[in-house]
Symmetry: C3
Subunit: 150 residues, 3 copies
Amino acid sequence: MAQATQVRQGLNPQAQKLSIIVSKGSLDMAYPAFMLANAGAAMGMEVHLFFTFWGMAVINKRQEANLQVGPDASPGMTTAAVRDAVARLKLPTIPEMVAGAKDMGVHLHACSTTLEMMGMRKDDLVPEVEDIVGASTFLQLSENGQTLFI
Amino acid sequence: MAQATQVRQGLNPQAQKLSIIVSKGSLDMAYPAFMLANAGAAMGMEVHLFFTFWGMAVINKRQEANLQVGPDASPGMTTAAVRDAVARLKLPTIPEMVAGAKDMGVHLHACSTTLEMMGMRKDDLVPEVEDIVGASTFLQLSENGQTLFI
Amino acid sequence: MAQATQVRQGLNPQAQKLSIIVSKGSLDMAYPAFMLANAGAAMGMEVHLFFTFWGMAVINKRQEANLQVGPDASPGMTTAAVRDAVARLKLPTIPEMVAGAKDMGVHLHACSTTLEMMGMRKDDLVPEVEDIVGASTFLQLSENGQTLFI
């Protein structure tokens, strides 16, 4: 707690916001998104996640717990191998990461255009999702911070 | 118009610039690049797109209209399915997105090293491309703004 | 030298830092990471590279010189074709890029969680790697700058 406060004081206003556009639906790209988001939140940063395109899978009720390793994986690093490593290191699963993010105050936004393209509704998304917004709203939310596209 | 002005006033100088490095040549990654670029331009932001590596396909005269869905796509989301969704939602096609970006003042830059690597010339690129620059020039253009790597 | 100084004076404090999260282990994504990093360093910027997930291959002693083209490549652009183009343009190889980065003062950081997940140790990494840090430390290092996720 003392450390978090110290870190927060060390940051200038620009650095206190972290926004991440989550465009991939793979297990291996969901992890960096939540590891960075949750580390930022633990440091006292304001954090926004914007799920768009294939990233919608990460907050899809029926897919959240079953993400698979994507095309960038090293040979031999299968979904099972990643899940084994996650269990061995006692890292949270993706559903636990999502719940943990919400608990720490991370804001989860779903992209309105993507929902329409995929014929999905808010009801198809995990309850941690705060709202459905467009690209313009996201750009406003992320202003004056750092933004990553994953 | 009143809304755009209000948004612009709400942004600080840092946030008024958005730069996007477009490194992928797929239909599904070209869309987020232009949706963000064009949303930013509509909000009054200065926007720069830097096409590099596989992203050169997006501004290649012979490929711009024929981009295919890339390796990150969800199973079942084929190029035809994405094009159908785009048509159903009356979203612009990629060539329309490129033309619209130019109309809104978005700056399109092609990476000089990539052009050389691919044995291409300015004449191979769509006319909306403003200039051919290297990484150093792009870093200078994007300073004091937000930069995304797609 | 005079030009580098001029550029440096033109940058504000925010823009003088560039941080890149290297999450892919492919030849074609390692190049943009180092081209941007080394261009930034040549301009006088403080540059941090954070190797995580599949990006660990880039700084793995046994893999650094043998990276392959990844899934985003255009049809026909094989590993051999990229290596040929690199040789034709007299661009540095990846090991040369890594050594050059270090020489120019770029900071190379390895992700502690990824090392644990992959059962690797500092000894498995190229000597240019400066330290092994977690996501929180990286977020602190990158504050007040621009950060890209590749």
